[in-house]
Symmetry: C2
Subunit: 160 residues, 2 copies
DNA sequence: CAGTATCCTGTCCGATACTG
DNA sequence: CAGTATCGGACAGGATACTG
């Protein structure tokens, strides 16, 4: 099974998420988008992938509803790629990934940080349960089969 | 460039994170680990990948310090794979990914959910700035070059 | 500039067979 | 049960050339 598998087949939200953002280039393109870049040549220069691969990845992202392709000029026609609402909702995933790596580094060793642009302060993000305020890494939290769980998923969580 | 590239080359924490957890099977194995599974045949059955691939992926995870391989019995020797501290610290990433997908579904459509095991309540995790309490998707947060930023990274964030 | 088309190599990965 | 070894097809992805 490769990345082309639509993970809905496995009815696992993790697999589905991976099918959207599980590829290297996809994450790097999204990173560019979150930083305000919108154009083909900007992606190409920032990321350093071949133009043919970039074409393919952008098409997938547009097909998946993560990016929207819009002409911003006619004659010659030029397009820009902007995040959709669905695309923007991926931000916590990218932030959590960058935060994971930065955690292992001393502040002075970090090449990229998240900042509060109103104060300039560096942010150290946390993924939490908003009800208790506890980090999700607390052992009291665990995955369980949900209402729409199929056979496999229920088997997995029956006394694991 | 493929997944084998050590992302430290690019000195971007996102790339580094991707080099650790950017592959499908890796995420699925980690999911199993977080759910308490530890053995080769359990991974094989739950995930449905070939044994040769599983061998390769487990080796990479052990080499990367995400899993530890321990003999839990001699004669015949049997191993188990358990999360290291570094491995456990990946949990927010998996949780953020599953949460992203579940957000798009009605509660009754969810196949797998995060729960507070002390109350049974479903958790809807959020990635936030602990200082202000705001979600990181708030537009006031942005990535910036950090102290250890190299040439490329600084160029990227000079008036982007 | 913003791509598309083609070629070629390396790698992913399932299938199968084998081992203690 | 817990893997290792080998084979072969499919595809990722770089390099290059071409187009409006």
């Amino acid at each position: 099974m490769s990345a082309h598998v639509r993970a809905e087949d496995r009815e696992c939200p993790l697999s589905t998420a991976m099918s959207y953002v599980g590829e290297w280039w996809t994450i790097l393109i999204l990173h560019d988008c979150f930083d305000g870049y919108t154009r083909f040549d900007q992606f190409e220069a920032n990321i350093g992938l071949s133009s043919s691969m970039l074409t393919t990845r952008l098409k997938t992202l547009v097909d998946n509803g993560i990016l929207a392709k819009r002409a911003y000029q006619e004659r010659p026609v030029r397009h820009e790629y902007v995040l959709t609402d669905l695309g923007r909702s991926l931000r916590p995933i990218l932030v959590a990934m960058a935060a994971w790596r930065n955690e292992q580094l001393a502040p002075s060793e970090r090449a990229m940080v998240l900042v509060d642009t109103e104060t300039g302060r560096e942010v150290e993000p946390e993924t939490i349960d908003p009800v208790t305020g506890l980090p999700v890494s607390d052992p009291r939290f665990a995955f369980r089969a949900g209402p729409a769980a199929g056979e496999e998923m229920r088997a997995r969580y029956d006394v694991p």
